[in-house]
Assembly symmetry: C2
Homo-oligomer: 369 residues x 2
């Protein structure tokens, strides 16, 4: 039988994720599998937690990767923190805010939303007004909206919640590893991310961190968490407990990859990594301007790692992306929802954020348009 893996080509991944994976991360994935209770593997788990805490600037004890993709991180945060009839406020300016609303609704929460135009950020004053009207149990926002390329003002929203009872939940799927996150300083109580964006690791794990306040909310639940697989009260015992009680078999090799990805960021240095993202973003915006392509998002709240560009008049959205993939071996993202057919999403995440990739894409677009 023909082996379809032989047909895999190397593609420069410049979409909304997965991003290009660093070769040493791919090598890490292929190391010998250890048992999930092997003392050597437990050391690797401990190192992952330490590196995650460093990059999130948090002292949170409950800091660990969930055994699923970024969306499993979202599910974990909500299913552990939200109880039936809890008052939840979701701030929405893109697909991933909408997804949060759906997830919370399925858990029986009483969900309010504040919606903002896609391509613009959450307005802090509107949040302030909403918080004055109702005493929420949880407020959720996406840090870096992957569907639009907008950065939301997480630190400012966190400041509004300082003395409130509400848990502050942040989706950091696209921001983690590509821009500063100061979980403790910004008052974030719960955060999740994914491995396939700025960590330059394949998809499959969801880094997650809970503050003591979030853990307290979890411990005070009246019912069991209605999800055995993602129940953090049990997962904590495996990731942190003295006994390392078996819960489920951890995805060993994916965790090797995550360790290596975090190790690379540590070695390059956090500040240098963020600067590299900004530098390549600047290079891209300049090059696109020369081609007459402009950006969807205002520069004040534009993400460096996810660049939404207006599709130039006369260009065939699907045809350009398809030719780019087939002939130039570059993947670029389509628009979602109301932005479908209107924008392309160009990712400069992690190992993708290098000048040679930016130049390769600009040259291809120049030839194609």
């Amino acid at each position: 039988m023909e082996n379809v893996l032989d047909t895999i080509e190397e593609i420069t991944l410049m979409g909304p994720g997965p991003s290009c994976v660093h070769p040493s991360v791919l090598t890490a994935l292929s190391k010998s599998t250890l048992g999930h209770l092997d003392p050597s593997f437990i050391s690797i788990m401990d190192e992952i937690k330490t590196l995650m805490r460093g990059l999130l600037h948090t002292g949170n004890q409950l800091t660990m990767p969930v055994s699923g993709t970024g969306s499993a991180g979202m599910e974990t945060a909500f299913v552990n923190l939200v109880e039936k009839a809890d008052k939840v406020l979701v701030l929405i300016n893109g697909v991933f805010g909408m997804r949060m609303q759906d997830v919370a609704g399925r858990l029986g929460a009483d969900v309010d939303t504040l919606a903002f135009e896609w391509g613009t950020p959450v307005v802090v004053d509107d949040v302030k007004t909403a918080l004055a009207k109702k005493d929420y149990d949880l407020v959720a926002v996406v840090h870096a909206e992957t569907s639009t390329g907008v950065e939301n003002p997480v630190a400012e929203i966190g400041a509004l919640l300082k003395d409130k009872k509400a848990i502050f939940l942040v989706d950091a799927v696209t921001s983690f590893g590509g821009m500063e996150i100061r979980m403790d300083d910004w008052g974030i109580d719960a955060l999740y991310s994914g491995t396939q964006k700025c960590l330059s690791c394949p998809p499959g794990l969801a880094p997650l961190s809970f503050s003591d306040k979030a853990v307290e909310k979890l411990k005070n639940r009246t019912d069991k968490v209605p999800n055995w697989y993602l129940d953090l009260t049990m997962l904590m015992n495996y990731w942190d407990g003295a006994t390392r009680a078996y819960h489920h078999t951890a995805p060993i090799n994916m965790l090797y990859g995550l360790y290596q990805a975090l190790y690379l960021i540590h070695e390059e240095g956090e500040t240098a990594v963020y600067q590299r993202h900004r530098d390549n973003h600047t290079l891209l915006v300049k090059g696109l301007a020369e081609l007459g392509i402009d950006m969807l998002v205002d520069s004040a709240c534009r993400l460096p790692m996810l660049n939404s560009v207006n599709i130039p008049e006369g260009a065939d959205d699907a045809a350009v992306r398809s030719t780019l993939l087939k002939e130039y071996k570059i993947e670029m993202g389509a628009g979602l929802g109301p932005l479908a057919g209107k924008i392309w999403r160009i990712g400069l995440m992690g190992h993708t954020a290098r000048p040679e990739n930016v130049e390769k894409l600009l040259a291809a677009l120049k030839a194609l348009l």
Copy 2:
């Protein structure tokens, strides 16, 4: 900073999983990451579904791997099929039956159980009696109980359910790829497995299949599935739909590994693979008998891939396992629950099921005891 991955040693994994991973599966994991909507990747997804259907002897359209470990497969099956107050019967003779009871209970099901002594199989006549008393919505059983090494009579239970409304749900985590499963012939409506047992792949994915009857039950739900991440009504559209609608970013590289694992079984031939498991089991049992070590489970219902052996008198459970790991680089499993301290669990799953591994373990045990 020291890189902890440099400390990984090659361990012969002879516990209850993960099992030894075939080198070509490790190589597959490290292939270039493709986008989750890339046409080449979609071809790989299609091949995975085809190979899974072949190995399960099913025509089920809804056959796909879930993006989480085997326990995520369990969660997926229950959360999609069980609605609040559904009448569920769980047959329990080990840890994984108990886990099913917990999972179903968290979803608000009305759960009855039939318990059998650990180390013995489910008694079909008792199931028949229970079915005559109550009209269940779902009946669940573990095919190969990893905590005890017992094979349960799945085909016989399926025959009892032939004209009943109940969905027949089977945990095939440890059996899939190591012994025959005829999903359609045996009347199994829903089945899940894991990659880290007889597929010789690292943990991280949960192969799953639903019959048309199970899909019908899912489609007739009154409420949304209370779990966004594992909602099969949406996952189906990505894995099967004409539009391949984006749901979550699939764990690309893990799926390369699963494809390669299924490819290897296809190339070796299903019958040969099962025979290899039985042959190595026979070799192990014979060698253990020579060392005076006997089996927990009666030969009539003994699994080939998970061998529970009574710890010989005078042997220190933890010390033997620890020395075996540290000095002989062999991992063996401990007993769980009521069998803790009483048994060892010796896995002969997938790539572990080779005579050289059996001989290596027997020689080590001979030296140690």
